[in-house]
């Protein structure tokens, strides 16, 4: 067999990930175990997403890598540099509309995804049951039997104690009416974007050695009670008005709160590209 000189991974690793990806799409939300490979970055820094990207990329692809909403944070820059070095012919981009593959940590771009694009997630904890059950064998049984009672109890206890579900991110959601997934640490804001999305969403947890997926046009329903519905972040100020991005004035994006010296804070779009796009890419050369 010829050595695979594209994409860093050896041929055995690539084929195993291919097989796992197909089965992950065939059983949406089910965590397919795989032999996660050693990568030249530490486990927990995006090795799962990286292995997926390296397995699916082709020469001519345009890759966007984001960490939170930023293209220029340390994690995103290092991953992008490595991917581009390992995959000759793959072009790095920052504009969501131009990307064919988007590898992400903690966000889904604000701009609606288009058919033909692929979303790849770096996942630290793939199992939503981890917050209620530490033993993996037991969690596998619970998923197999659809036994999510303890997760519902945890959400119920939150409602009793805090009047809402106290999960700001990694909010559990049921996929195709069966498996409950941890959608990776995306904020609640992004969870509705997974529901009947136009593109496949592929999740890679390198340290935990799991791959799972949400195919396009698939039901993804956040867990909620009939009388305590799921809600996304509201970003209201003291007067109850929706806050705007201080930079692009958007009032329909996920915002970061940036503390200012001397007190007070400034609110700004978390998705850097969406903010730049609204401003007409002022820094573009």
């Amino acid at each position: 067999m010829a050595a695979d000189d594209f994409g860093f991974l050896d041929a055995y690793a690539v084929r195993e990930i291919r097989r796992a990806l197909l089965k992950a799409l065939a059983v949406p939300g089910y965590q397919v175990p795989y032999a996660s490979r050693e990568m030249p970055i530490a486990r927990g820094f995006g090795t799962g997403g990286l292995q997926l990207s390296l397995s699916v990329l082709l020469p001519g692809d345009r890759i966007k890598v984001i960490d939170q909403g930023a293209d220029d944070s340390v994690n995103a820059v290092n991953l992008r540099r490595f991917i581009v070095a390992a995959c000759p012919g793959v072009q790095p981009v920052t504009r969501t509309a131009e990307a064919t593959v988007i590898q992400t940590r903690h966000r889904i771009p604000e701009r609606p995804l288009m058919p033909g694009q692929l979303m790849i997630y770096q996942v630290p904890y793939p199992d939503p049951l981890q917050i209620v059950e530490p033993r993996e064998a037991e969690r596998r049984r619970m998923h197999a039997e659809g036994d999510y009672a303890r997760l519902w109890v945890k959400l119920y206890e939150d409602v009793v104690r805090f009047r809402e579900v106290a999960l700001s991110n990694r909010y559990p959601a049921r996929v195709h009416g069966r498996y409950i997934i941890d959608p990776s640490p995306i904020p609640r804001w992004d969870l509705p974007k997974l529901h009947r999305s136009a593109v496949p969403h592929l999740f890679g947890a390198g340290r935990e050695k799991k791959i799972y997926a949400v195919p396009p046009h698939t039901a993804v329903e956040p867990l909620a009670f009939a009388d305590v519905p799921f809600e996304v972040e509201r970003f209201r100020d003291e007067q109850g008005r929706r806050r705007r991005c201080a930079r692009c004035q958007a009032d329909d994006t996920y915002l970061d709160q940036i503390p200012l010296p001397g007190g007070g804070s400034r609110w700004q779009c978390n998705d850097q590209d969406a903010c730049d796009e609204r401003l007409g890419y002022p820094d573009a050369r």
Partner: protein
Amino acid sequence: MIAIDHPWRSDGQRQVFRRLLAAWAEPGSVADIAPWCGGAHASLAVLACLCDAATSFCDADQLLSPTDRSRLAARPAPAGEAAFILADAARPPAWVPERGSLLAPERGATIVLRCQSLGEGAVVALRGPGIAERAALAVSGLHPAWWTARACWCAYPLGVDFVFCDATRLACVPRTTTVGGEES
């Protein structure tokens, strides 16, 4: 240096897999992989990008040459145990494939069916994940027993996943897809 041709070249296998992934994510859509088949049947190109010594394979209807079978390098296994099965779509299945278990539904077999032509013949309506509303798939040279057998084998999340291949193209029907009967 030894020259390696498609479908055994890793760059071509990447191209085939990406199209397979897209077709698998959108059941019923037909993908053309002719440039990376190297003259071989598309079913061999599909198997070549997925199989190696870590998996098992059954050539149920002896469709591959012994050389191609050995190049796939997959462990030979009976149809009831193999992870990948290649079969002739014109003949009804005479075996029951592995359907996985609740603890490991991913062990359900991938069945690659060699058919006459995609886009011609009896049309079936498809619904389910990956399909916006409804999709249609036409496969000619497919024995109707495959749909009845599939209905028996698939009880979500257990089941088998179909990849239909004509000479140069592929289309997928994973276990989540509801096959809604023939359309005129």
